[in-house]
Symmetry: C2
Subunit: 253 residues, 2 copies
């Protein structure tokens, strides 16, 4: 499994991903799922991948090869972020087309989904979720984050704390905690965690981070976070229990 | 959907459930999913239900009818909590046997699962998860909670804060927050929330609580909790970003 998320913010974009890939529970590997296709000072492009690894690796390899070959159409020539997202979608479709019948007949799941975040000159930063079918949705100020993979464990912390106005550094901590919560609750999501933080209009991707297993920062963060949660319980008003009932009625209302 | 959880603790048991049932997104109803089958001073029995409503309602009705008819075998005659759990499992099997072929041929999901918690004289408090197949697992000090239904959203808070030694009242708050997190992130889980808290060896179920939509306590609790989470972000050490790289390398390691 995989967990990746992107946060779109008034101040920029945060993208984060775990690195665990598994085929069943007895074949677990480490693969990077967060990629940087940026050209400094020209265009910021970050991608996260989830789903069938053979499909997503092929997608990334094709996108990279077109750039290296300086082909007329590539992530580096698409004129807007929407075109970038559609171009990623078209690449997924091409790979799916070439492999689908071989996978389908052996009942292998060939689905994938990608996050595409970044900024092109003349545009505000944008964040897209590109589906396995090649279509996409875009993050908005009302829903400033998008997730792919094992999304449920890490969603409450985002729902409770994130808004479009959250400071960018707080959003990055929130992304890290969202992934860490998922790692703690689901073994199929695992370290290292990769993070990128992009400050709006800088056209430079200055903030990257890889947090490995056993990182003192991660241990410290977990400890602090769990202490805060426990303190929050203590600070919460006591539950207002109903008065004891005498009979042990079978409640069936 | 549904979310129910049970917590087994050195000091007792907490059981909690939401009340939303849905068939698709356009048919949403309220049904109680937490039931009390206790006999004061004799036996404490709490049940939570999830899954196909027709199945779980039949299970509860059968269990209740056997008690009312004072049949020789019922939840009130089972000699240990393990027997109670097996008895609930047998009741599930009976209902499944009578309905399964009719549901199966229309591809209707007939699965269900139940939580059974309580205490019988001469035993310590016990908590079981009874599967749709009628078999069961038991909570232990190492894994002091069991969940059924839409379990993922509410699991991180339990994983991070609960242990067998958590004070019972804190465990009850934790259960409430676990359900509230799920409600906030998934519309198919909804109020009212029902809670029961049982203090070990009292053989009396004194603490019950129903929290309705718009409850001032719930609003206050959410506000406090979210404030604490945001404060926790502020208190967390700053991320130790790597030094900026000059080139926008495509990272493929």
């Amino acid at each position: 499994m995989t967990y990746c998320l992107g946060i779109l913010n008034q101040a920029g974009i945060v993208m984060a991903a775990d690195s665990r890939t598994n085929a069943g529970v007895d074949y677990i590997s480490v693969y990077r799922k967060l990629f940087d296709f940026s050209i400094p000072h020209e265009r910021i492009l970050m991608l996260c991948t989830s789903g069938n690894l053979a499909v997503t690796q092929s997608v990334i390899t094709c996108l990279q090869r077109e750039i290296e070959n300086q082909e007329p159409q590539s992530l580096h020539t698409a004129p807007t972020m929407y075109d970038v997202a559609r171009y990623v979608g078209q690449t997924i479709r091409n790979i799916q087309d070439s492999d689908r019948q071989w996978l389908e007949r052996d009942q292998i799941d060939f689905q994938c989904s990608l996050l595409v975040g970044g900024q092109l000159p003349g545009e505000v930063p944008k964040l897209f979720l590109v589906y396995s079918q090649g279509n996409c949705i875009e993050a908005t100020p009302e829903t400033p984050f998008l997730q792919i993979g094992e999304t449920k464990y890490g969603k409450p912390i985002l729902d409770r704390t994130l808004s479009f106005d959250t400071p960018l550094e707080a959003a990055a901590k929130c992304a890290l905690l969202s992934i860490d919560s998922t790692m703690k609750s689901n073994l199929s999501v695992g370290p290292p965690i990769n993070l990128m933080m992009y400050k709006k209009d800088s056209l430079l991707l200055r903030h990257r981070l890889q947090i490995r297993l056993g990182s003192p920062y991660l241990a410290k963060m977990r400890k602090l976070w769990e202490e805060h949660l426990r303190n929050a319980f203590d600070a919460m008003p006591n539950l207002e229990w109903e008065l004891p009932e005498e009979a042990g009625d079978i409640l069936m209302d």
